[in-house]
Structure formats: structure tokens, C-alpha cells
């Protein structure tokens, strides 16, 4: 059954639970360093985050600030008082036998994120709460499956915010757009790096289907392990098809937790979640209530940076970009910052469109082809260099055609374009005398074309231009060449 057919019959309903690692120096409740990606196991651990007897949690002020910022940036209401609660369950990656989270009184609720569409749409945000991450389990070393599991607590206690969306998402594409949008907002705010590869942003999806026209939601399955944008899209699409077929065949969707396996492209029920949980939440007596202190909230509001949506609007107005270009460029803070850097270096907003084209075209293609993350773009080609190149083209010093070679050289050598242009002798010839001489020569060699041109066959000019370009090794300014050919023709008439 194809998706299109299913879509006519069924509606997909998705809510996402996204965990983002807050960009703090230390963990949520202890002083251990928070970032430990790639470090040996159990190096960032202490009595608190390994659940030793007698230890107590003390809340990280920066995690609170970042959490509040995220809430403000996502239009959420900050609750006057929030409470930390214990979520009780046993798992080897959970050192205390409970996770410190927020339950009945999270720190913020009732926000939304606008996705671009088309058409643009508002995805509701139910709540955002603070919680600690668990440790990491290792089941295999390399390809070798182990007969036991290994536990690393480097990640245990790392501060997370959990952002719970409303069930407003209706397609895999919308889900991906929501994530991209969320990531952009959190990056702009400096709340989280949201690097999915490093596990700094993780997503679970609650997926259900219902026959079109039905008001009540279907039974939902919770899909875990969606660790890339692609995974989110593929897993939801798969789950949509799976549930639709089940319902069509008269079956029932089970309320269960399923694991997405990116390799096989399937979801399967999670063994460890078979038993119905009773988390026995209760307020953590080791922690005191957290208030949204008005002075802090005021300060955070005042210093809230420009967010992707505002920036997109500004790019359209200030740089005369299309909505589409502005959308792409602002979807990633680094990309947007890079663009601003390029335009600044080009010396004029006139070159904004050209800058956008070079970034979205040549630069992204090159990064893609070499598997370089955008975070490294600055080092490969500094925005100042690309800006300078755009200016050289705009001023006519460099032809667009040769610019591609210059770009390649810039990537290879890391040198500034002006320098490359001179050392390679690539700068355009704009000397009228020189070009006029080439034009006269070319007209002499192409009598037929001159004749045709005189008879009104405009296209015949191509042959003469081509000839001039050959003589100039491509460096003659094309505008100038065209103008001079026409002038010479007119001279001949007189």
C-alpha cells in the first residue's frame, strides 16, 4: 500500500518529546564537567552522579537560566514555582534508582513553535521541564556483541530540558521541520548545541493514526531512538504505514514503546518496556521549590537574542532575499551568522543575493561532498574571503566563471581571493584599449558574423564575443566586450 493511498484514508497524529542537553559547564546536580563526548568511560563522575549513599543534589544555576531562556524563546509561560520530583524505576544506567525530573509542576508550559511549511503552521508546546540524563549502556564493543552490559556514568546527571509538543504534527515532514525549528531556536538562544550526533538532542515520537474525519485520537505507540532528522522522518513514515495496515486489517494498535532501528528501517517493541511502569512520582525531599524570580526573568527577557523567525523577516527586508533563501539561511544559527559575515565583508548589501547563492550553492555542496559539518565552514573558507570574492565579482574584477576556480583554490589553500586572483593572473581585463584591439581583430576574423549582425541577426554576436574571450583567456570583461562590438559596428555604419 503506498503512502499516498493510506493518506487519503488515514490521518497521522504525532507529538514529539525532545530532550536537549543544556550548554552548561557542570552537571545538573553536581560539579562534574558536563561535556564528556568521546572521553574514556567514568572520568566525569563523582559520588553524587554515581548514586553513592549519603549524597545530595544541588541545582545548577546556569541550567535554570538556560531552561528559562528556552521557555521564553518558545513563547512558554514560566510557572511561578516549579517542583523537582523523583521518577522511580530500576535500570543499570540510573544510579539512584530514580531520575530527578519535574512532574506535576514543570517550570514552564503553554508555548508554541511556528514551522515554515508550506503552509506555515503553529505546533503547540505543552511543557518544558528540567531533568537529569542517565548514564550510557554499552552492549557491544565494535561489532562484537557482549554477553553482558557495561555502564558509563559520564553522561549521568547532565542537564536536559524535555520539550513536549502537543499532538499537532500531521506528517513526517512537519515533524522534521519542527525539530529543525526547535534546534534553530535553542542554538540562537545559546541554550543547547543540539548536536544530534553527540546525543545532545534526542527525540521520542508518540505516533497514532485515525480514520479521516474521526475526532478521537487512535492508540499511540511511543517510538524511541530517533537520533537524526532523517530517522525521525523515516520512523514516523514507517510507523504510519504499519499502524494504517494494522487498522485496515481489523487489528488494533497496541499502546507500547517501540524502538526505531535505522539499519533495518523498522520499529520493534522494546523488551525492557514490556512491563507497565508505575513511576511513583513524588516531590524530591532533597530539593527545594524553584521560583521564576521576577528580576531574573526580566533580565533574561531583556537580553533575549534575535530568534530565527525575526531574523528571517529581517533578512527579507534588509537584504531583499526571497522568503525561501531567508528561511534556509536562518534555519541554522551558524549558517545565518556566516551569511552575515560574508555580506559584511563584501562591503554592500547589494551583494547579499549573490552571497546567499554562493553559500547555498558552492559552499554547501563542497561541505556536503567532503562530509564537513557546517561548524567547520569558518575554518575552510572564512566568511571574509567569500565576501571579498563576491565583491570582486560584483565589481567586475573576476568573472563568475573564473570565480569557481578561485573558490576551489580558496578551499584548497585557505588563501584570500584577491591574492589568488593576482597570483593566478585571473583578474578581468577592463582596459578598453586592450579589449578594443581584441574586438577589432575578432571582427576581422569573423566577417560572416559581422555581416549577419549588420543584418539584424542579434545572435551572431556570440561568435565574436567567443573569439575575444579566447584571445583574452577568458579574462575580458563580457559587458565591455559586448558594448565595444556594438560601438565598432556603428562606427562602420557611419
Amino acid at each position: 500500500m503506498t503512502e499516498a493511498v493510506l493518506e487519503k484514508e488515514f490521518e497521522l497524529v504525532v507529538g514529539l518529546e525532545v530532550h536537549c542537553q543544556l550548554a552548561t559547564a557542570s552537571k545538573l546536580f553536581c560539579a562534574c564537567p558536563s561535556g564528556s563526548f568521546g572521553l574514556p568511560a567514568n572520568t566525569h563522575v563523582c559520588p553524587v552522579c554515581t548514586g553513592q549513599p549519603g549524597t545530595l543534589p544541588v541545582l545548577n544555576a546556569a541550567a535554570v537560566e538556560l531552561g528559562f531562556k528556552a521557555a521564553l524563546g518558545l513563547g512558554c509561560r514560566l510557572n511561578e514555582t516549579s517542583i523537582f520530583a523523583r521518577k522511580n524505576y530500576f535500570y543499570p544506567d540510573l544510579p539512584k534508582g530514580y531520575q530527578i525530573s519535574q512532574y506535576e509542576q514543570p517550570f514552564s508550559e503553554h508555548g508554541a513553535l511556528e514551522i515554515q511549511g508550506p503552509p506555515p503552521k503553529r505546533i503547540g508546546i505543552h511543557r518544558i521541564h528540567l531533568e537529569e540524563d542517565a548514564g550510557k549502556l554499552l552492549h557491544s564493543i565494535g561489532a562484537e556483541e557482549l554477553g553482558y552490559s557495561l555502564v558509563d556514568f559520564n553522561r549521568a546527571g547532565v542537564p536536559l530540558i524535555e520539550i513536549v509538543s502537543a499532538p499537532d504534527i500531521r506528517s513526517p515532514e512537519e515533524a522534521a521541520q519542527y525539530l529543525v525549528g526547535l534546534k534553530a531556536v535553542l542554538q540562537y538562544l545559546g541554550v543547547s548545541n543540539c548536536d544530534m550526533e553527540k546525543g545532545e538532542m534526542r527525540c521520542d515520537a508518540n505516533v497514532s493514526v485515525r480514520p479521516r474525519g474521526q475526532a478521537v485520537f487512535g492508540t499511540r505507540a511511543e517510538i524511541k531512538n530517533l537520533n537524526s532528522f532523517r530517522g525521525v522522518r523515516d520512523a514516523i513514515a514507517y510507523e504510519f504505514a504499519r499502524q494504517c495496515e494494522l487498522v485496515r486489517e481489523g487489528g488494533r494498535v497496541a499502546q507500547e514503546t517501540r524502538l526505531w532501528d535505522a539499519d533495518s528501517g523498522l520499529t520493534r517493541p522494546m523488551r525492557s518496556k514490556e512491563e507497565a511502569h508505575d513511576y511513583r512520582y513524588f516531590p524530591d525531599p532533597d530539593l527545594v521549590p524553584l521560583r521564576a524570580e521576577p528580576a531574573l526573568v526580566r533580565r533574561l527577557k531583556e537580553t533575549l537574542p534575535e530568534l530565527p523567525a525575526e531574523r528571517r523577516k529581517r533578512f527579507v527586508q534588509e537584504y531583499q532575499l526571497s522568503e525561501y533563501d531567508a528561511g534556509v539561511l536562518t534555519s541554522d544559527k551558524l549558517l545565518a551568522d556566516y551569511f552575515v559575515g560574508v555580506v559584511a565583508a563584501s562591503g554592500s548589501n547589494r551583494y547579499a543575493k549573490a552571497s546567499a547563492n554562493w553559500i547555498q550553492g558552492e559552499l554547501l555542496a563542497k561541505l556536503n561532498a567532503t562530509g564537513t559539518p557546517f561548524a567547520k565552514a569558518q575554518q575552510c573558507i572564512p566568511p571574509a574571503h567569500l565576501g571579498e570574492m563576491v565583491r570582486l565579482i560584483g565589481e567586475g574584477t573576476l568573472s563568475s566563471k573564473l570565480a569557481k576556480d578561485v573558490f576551489a583554490k580558496m578551499w584548497e589553500t585557505g588563501q584570500a581571493p584577491q591574492k589568488l586572483v593576482s597570483s593566478l593572473g585571473l583578474s578581468q581585463v577592463t582596459d578598453e584599449g586592450q579589449i578594443a584591439a581584441w574586438v577589432l581583430e575578432a571582427m576581422g576574423e569573423n566577417q560572416k558574423a559581422v555581416e549577419d549582425l549588420r543584418n539584424g541577426k542579434e545572435r551572431a554576436i556570440g561568435a565574436i564575443v567567443g573569439s575575444v574571450m579566447k584571445k583574452s583567456k577568458g579574462k575580458a570583461n563580457p559587458d565591455l566586450v559586448n558594448r565595444l562590438i556594438k560601438e565598432k559596428l556603428n562606427d562602420g555604419k557611419r
Binding site: A31, V58, L59, A62, V64, P92, L150, R271, D278, P285
Partner: protein, 95 residues
């Protein structure tokens, strides 16, 4: 509402404690009695009473975000029932 054996089993499973048959019966009995003695609380009208989880009334206890390494890390692993290199070793977890 007297507590039955099934409920006791369920609670023991939630608490991850294996109980022998005689323990189960003893706890069923005792829990029953203890819970019965608590029935008197029900009679108390607390509809307009707020809950107290903290007698001190402190709020916003925060620490500055300063990272510091714990210097006695090896001791944390030394006590492990089983380890493999820098890891704690546990029974196979099937996800």
C-alpha cells in the same frame, strides 16, 4: 480495603525485592494492619489544607555553574561488584 497477595506481589516487584512465600504472607498481614491503623487520617478534613514537603520554606537553592573533577574517582569503581576496565559490568540489558 484489605490488601491481597496479588497486590503484595505487585508492590514487591515494583520495589525489585524477591520475597519468600512466608515473607509475602507476613507482609500482607502487617501491611494490612498498618494501613488499617492509618484509616484514622481519612476522617480528618484536609480539603483546605496545603501539603508540606519542606518545613523550612526555602526556595531557589542554587550553586554556581563551576566544573570541578572529583579526585577520588578510582574509589568509586573499586567498590563495584564487577568491573571491566573503566566500566561497571552488569547483567546483560536487553532493550
Amino acid at each position: 480495603m484489605p490488601i491481597d497477595e496479588k497486590a503484595v506481589r505487585h508492590i514487591a516487584r515494583l520495589a525489585r525485592m524477591e520475597l519468600r512465600a512466608e515473607e509475602l504472607e507476613a507482609y500482607r498481614n502487617q501491611l494490612d494492619k498498618i494501613l488499617e491503623s492509618m484509616e484514622e487520617l481519612r476522617a480528618l478534613d484536609t480539603d483546605r489544607v496545603s501539603a508540606t514537603s519542606h518545613v523550612l520554606g526555602l526556595t531557589d537553592v542554587l550553586r554556581p555553574d563551576q566544573a570541578r573533577l572529583f579526585e577520588n574517582r578510582e574509589a568509586l569503581l573499586e567498590g563495584a561488584p564487577e568491573r571491566e576496565g573503566p566500566y561497571y559490568k552488569v547483567r546483560k540489558v536487553i532493550e
